[in-house]
Amino acid sequence: MPARRARLNLVNIFLWVFGGAILALSAWGAFLTLSEGRISPSAWQTLIVAGVALGSVYALIALGYTLVYGILFMINFAHGEVFMWGAFTAFFAASALNDIGMIDASPLLAFLLVLLTAMLVSMLVAVLLERVAYRPLRGAPRLVPLITAIGASLVLQYTARGFYGSGVRGYPGFGLFGGTVELGPIRIDVVELVVIFAALALMFALYFFINRTRTGRAMRAVSEDKDVAAMMGINVDRIIVTTFAIGGLLAGAAGILYTLLFNQVHFFMGFLPGIKAFTAAVLGGIGNIIGAALGGLLLGILEQVGPNLLLTGYGIPSPNQLQDVIAFTVLVLVLIFRPSGLLGRKENV
């Protein structure tokens, strides 16, 4: 027994040294880059804003992962595809409205219409997913829904591929969101501002819904203990469907915001953001709503700022190719020092 404890301590010491070394290297790299002063302060601001915009999209998707995990303790790996369907719906709705000239005539109304359609379709996909792929397996061992999730993800991907082809499609875009605005000293693209505010609004709405409404209270109850909640007269199935529906709505919104940022859709686009958002959820503490939002933002900023800040100082060639390395190194570090994520894993939603 003492020997075992000694070995564990050795591992811990190694991990701490490892983590400390990486932190020291990062700090020194950042110092080198900043003292070099090649990248101007306004460029850093642009990078941070871009990171926040991308991060808030990650956060919206991450919320879907975290909500479902909070209630069912399963990872819905098909969630990235729900996001992709939202983006595709937004693409087709926007193209249709563009054809009838509505985007030029009343862009704001058109945008809201597109947003609504995308969110509704994504919600529908998420609810169907729960009904078809997860509910029949509710009592099955934990690995089983994981496998169906991967299967469902492939089905959704290749359905989209069958419908829309495998090419990359450009996005008509809303003239409304072109250009930049000055917020004090910071120059921000309007698109990024719209994305950040829309995402924040949705996150606040979700927070309010979970904490202030009857359904929200029921969701918290179910996540705490399904059986007791059922005994208290809560329809657990309905709450689970609601959870998926909310996750779908958020993913749909994330889909259109993402296409606003990048003007591009293709059938495989859900995969990488899905993985990143899952990482964000783990980073913040899976099952924790505020954690997911925070994790998303952090990941977005890290991806944008990290390579330039930490690596250019060392003169590493083409640092931006390593952005994922940085993002995932941070994940490893967080998991070493705080195994349950930044804000900890809450057992209730």
Binding site: S42, A43, G170, E303, Q321
Partner: protein
């Protein structure tokens, strides 16, 4: 529930039986080939060539089709690149449906524009025992493993659009690999000349996506730009395929405000960088440039207005001549069902098909009704091609498989269309 299980069990058994039957029929079609083999080995005249040939012969029984593989990127963001070549090969087959007295049948595989896709497609093609040759790959990343796999089996691989220099460099060339596309040591140099002499710019930055094509082309351009007119390369960046937000890379490059930004990558990331570069302050006056990896209307529609003024290098088809305009293009449009050509390597695929056909007919011989094509002899005949008059010019293969009569032109996007601007015709 149990009933369902039983039924599905039965279903599985049935499927297994069916699969077994299929394998049987597959086997029973083989005997016809088996019969002909002993028959001809009794003859023992020309088939001695087959025994002498390290990789043996392709054997095609009387009335059977001759199988030509294609290995092009026909799905995904870069599908226009591969489909364009595939249409080119199909037009060629339309004009020359028989090779060595056998009807040509295509085996179309997808190279996925990646090393993994190229490996899978090449394995699928070599599992076809009597494959006579392969037209492919589209992407150099797929070409590297494919050339290795196919060369190990003695199958000729002729690429209409691989341009990475390493594929035909003496140290890394695979023996059964050749190409009708130009080598990027020429394309990169041509682009550098254009930037130096026509645009008269002195600073440039490059971005590649880590693929052999982009990496090598960006590198050739950078070295040539430095040596041809003493230009300064401010930054050589790289991105990851599949990423969408490139503000980090672009801000890093914008810190030095280069006058020219060259990113010879593929459609998806190419379109995103084109758009995002326009929104990056510090790159406002920077001329953007790319190459044949995204020389397609798909890129124009994906990147929209941001493409205006973009310059792209690619193979020059202005020399293609009357046959191209009068016969090839109408046939192509009929096959593709599009209004215009969808990329720039269809003519190279057309030439690749015909050169392969010529080489096959040169070495093929018939005995007892069966046609034999000795594989090494086919390779030697292909590499010996000299002065072949194709659409893309007069092609002569060197010992490393570079067959192209490479002519590079630069086009500019004007009002949403590619307009050839250099060199003057």
């Amino acid at each position: 529930m149990q009933k369902y299980m039983r039924w599905s069990g039965l279903l599985v058994v049935l499927m297994l039986v069916l699969a077994a039957c299929q394998a049987d029929t597959g086997g029973s079609s083989d005997p016809s080939a088996d019969e002909s083999t002993p028959a001809s080995s009794e003859g023992a005249g020309g088939t001695a060539d087959c025994d002498a040939d390290e990789f043996g012969c392709v054997e095609i029984a009387e009335g059977d089709p001759i199988i030509i593989g294609t290995e092009l990127v026909i799905t995904g963001a870069n599908e226009s690149l591969g489909l364009d070549s595939q249409y080119g090969a199909e037009v060629a087959r339309g004009l020359r449906p028989d090779i060595a007295g056998h009807e040509v049948e295509f085996n179309h595989q997808d190279d996925g524009c990646s090393a993994e896709g190229g490996t899978a497609a090449a394995r699928a093609l070599v599992s076809e025992e009597n494959i006579a040759g392969v037209i492919g790959t589209s992407c150099s990343s797929a070409g590297i493993p494919s050339a290795e796999i196919l060369s190990a089996e003695g199958v000729m691989l002729v690429s209409p659009s691989n341009t990475a220099p390493s594929l035909t460099a003496p140290e890394t060339h695979e023996p059964f690999y050749a190409r009708t596309a130009h080598n990027d040591s020429i394309q990169g140099a041509a682009m550098a000349t254009f930037v130096c002499e026509v645009l008269s710019l002195t600073t440039a930055a490059t971005i590649d996506d880590g693929s052999p094509y982009a990496d090598q082309l960006a590198n050739v351009f950078a070295r040539e730009f430095e040596s041809q007119c003493g230009g300064t390369i401010t930054n050589e960046e790289a991105i990851t395929v599949g990423d969408t937000d490139f503000s980090g890379v672009l801000e890093n490059i914008a810190a030095d405000s280069p006058e020219f930004l060259y990113f010879p990558i593929f459609v998806a990331e190419g379109a995103l960088i084109t758009q995002q570069a326009k929104e990056t302050s510090g790159l406002d006056d920077t001329v953007l440039g790319g190459a044949d990896g995204y020389f397609t209307p798909d890129w124009l529609s994906a990147a929209g207005e941001a493409t205006e003024g973009h310059v792209l290098s690619g193979p020059d088809l202005a020399f293609a001549g009357d046959f191209y305009e009068a016969d090839f293009l109408p046939a192509y449009l009929e096959v593709s069902g599009t209004d215009t050509t969808i990329s720039v390597f269809h003519a190279h695929a057309f030439d690749a098909y015909n050169m392969l056909a010529d080489a096959i007919e040169e070495v093929a011989f018939t005995e007892g009704g069966t046609t034999y094509i000795p594989r090494t002899a086919l390779k030697d005949a292909f590499f010996a091609i000299e002065g072949y008059e194709g659409i893309t010019g007069t092609l002569t293969c060197d010992e490393n498989g570079d067959c192209a009569d490479a002519k590079i032109s630069v086009s500019e996007v004007q009002d949403g269309e590619f307009v050839r601007i250099w060199p003057e015709e």
